[in-house]
Amino acid sequence: MFETLSFYALAGLAVVASALVIGQRNPMYSVLMLIASFAGLSGLYILLDAPFVAMAQIIIYAGAIMVLFLFVVMLLNAPQEDAAEWDRAHPFRGPGVGRFGALLAALLAVQLAWALTAATGLSAGVGERTDAATVSSIRALGRMIFTDHGFAFEATSILILVAMVGAVVLARREGDS
């Protein structure tokens, strides 16, 4: 009972906050809503008996990455979107590029509907937690990452390194030493 209620509360928080991220005109509030959404997700991980993943979610996303986002938003002092621009950028009202947004949104809605109908078959398995012990044990988690998924792990780290080097190269203007 308590579990079901917490699930709906946390899932609701995550969904509503995510919707508000794109519904805000002020980028500052968007960042804050994204943090709230991460908090909801982390609560869901706790409900799944995965406290390590939950805390990693808070530390890495809400704690480190979002602080960086906030730093950038504050440094650029991004202005609020005004209403006229809002009309132009609105997916169903704007011309040209705006239509592409509408197309993407429609595609996403279809995909979401499909995923939800496809997932109904899985709901019978909810409640069985055969892997709870392995997921919550950090030792098991580490062993899994560095043996079974070792290649994916190393490949990801190289990918991140490449992205970082790329960002530095792009940010450097011509003529800078």
Binding site: P51, F52, M55, I58
Partner: protein, 342 residues
């Protein structure tokens, strides 16, 4: 006796909550008194015996002041920021254990653990919640609509990113040694002695890690010599320039509670928590209190002794010295754990 457990939990929350409030009042007094001594003057002297009622006079004064909000400030975030700062400060302490299990001299059937919550990833909980505390400062800086505040907030976010890496990496070395992320288990793995008189504290196995932890901890709590978000000589008062009354009071309170949490975690991780050779374990919470107090006095001492660094020096130091040092420390620890199979 079904009511005992919830009652114990509520009682523990009540005790910890009030202890933290009292601790911040004591720290205000201690800070002003120690600062006074270091500057060869008396410090607060007139309110109560030896000025001991000074913190209460301070908070009364702040309570009766007018709450101001600058024009053009973001109303919601301006109100939310100090609350966020102080709430995260209180919540962070909830995962910190401060004493061994006790039955209160046989009063209870089941032993209770001294500490609000015993979480199996306690180290991470404290780390996650304290890392959220920076939002209070950053938002205060942004919402004030003032350039000094904005600079304070910006500095807080940049400083926090630079130091959190070194901080987390030094924690990871201790977790490797203890083989557990539960703060209570980390403490209990430090209970014995070497050669009969050296306590088995991780500070002796992790001297480098301890130094990194303390430096990063000072930076995390925005204390001098790393108090750039405030930096009163350059930024008026930094992120809290536009704040007054109770809203203002919440910021220093959050800072003092964060100091207590930081010292408590340092005690749990490196200084053996409530263990001290020769002291029975039921007196452990007093030992714990003593160890925290020593660290806190050192904190205040450092603030009034060291001049503030320049901002770029802090970033340089954090990224180019502290972080590589903590990574090397972690690698060495991991190798040692594998080799000696501890």
């Amino acid at each position: 006796m079904e009511w005992v457990r919830p009652a114990v939990i509520v009682g523990m929350i009540f005790i910890v909550f009030n202890a933290l409030i009292i601790a911040s009042a004591i720290l205000v007094y201690a800070e002003r008194k120690i600062m006074g001594f270091l500057q060869q003057r008396y410090g607060p002297y007139l309110v109560g015996p030896h000025g001991m009622m000074q913190p209460f006079a301070d908070i009364l004064k702040l309570l009766f002041k007018e709450e101001l909000m600058p024009k053009g400030a973001d109303k919601w975030l301006f109100t939310l920021a100090p609350v966020l700062a102080v709430v995260t400060a209180f919540v962070a302490f909830s995962a910190v254990p401060f004493g061994a299990e006790t039955t209160l001299f046989g009063l209870l059937d089941e032993p209770i653990k001294l500490g609000v919550a015993d979480v199996n990833v306690g180290v991470l909980v404290v780390f996650a919640v304290t890392s959220m505390g920076v939002y209070g400062i950053v938002l205060a800086g942004w919402a004030s609509n003032s350039k000094y505040s904005l600079f304070g907030g910006l500095r807080a976010s940049a400083q926090m990113i630079s130091y959190e890496l070194a901080y987390a990496t030094s924690l990871a070395a201790v977790i490797l040694l203890a083989g557990s992320m539960s703060l209570r288990e980390v403490v209990d793995s430090q209970s014995g002695t070497w050669l009969g008189f050296i306590p088995q504290w991780y500070v002796f196995l992790q001297p480098v890690g301890f130094v990194i932890y303390v430096i990063a901890g000072v930076a995390e709590t925005n204390r001098a010599p790393f108090d750039f978000p405030e930096a009163e000589q350059e930024l008026v008062a930094g992120y809290n320039t536009e704040y007054s009354s109770v809203r203002f009071a919440l910021f220093p309170q959050a800072e003092y509670i964060n100091m207590v949490t930081m010292s408590a975690v340092a005690t749990d991780l490196y200084l053996g928590g409530w263990h001290l050779p020769g002291i029975p374990v039921w007196l452990g919470w007093l030992v714990f209190l003593g160890k925290i107090s020593v660290i806190l006095v050192a904190y205040i001492w450092a603030r009034w002794t060291l001049p503030r660094y320049r901002y770029d020096q802090l970033m340089y130091f954090g990224w180019k010295w502290l972080f590589p040092a903590s990574v090397l420390n972690l690698l060495a620890t991991a190798a040692a754990v594998l080799y000696f199979n501890v």
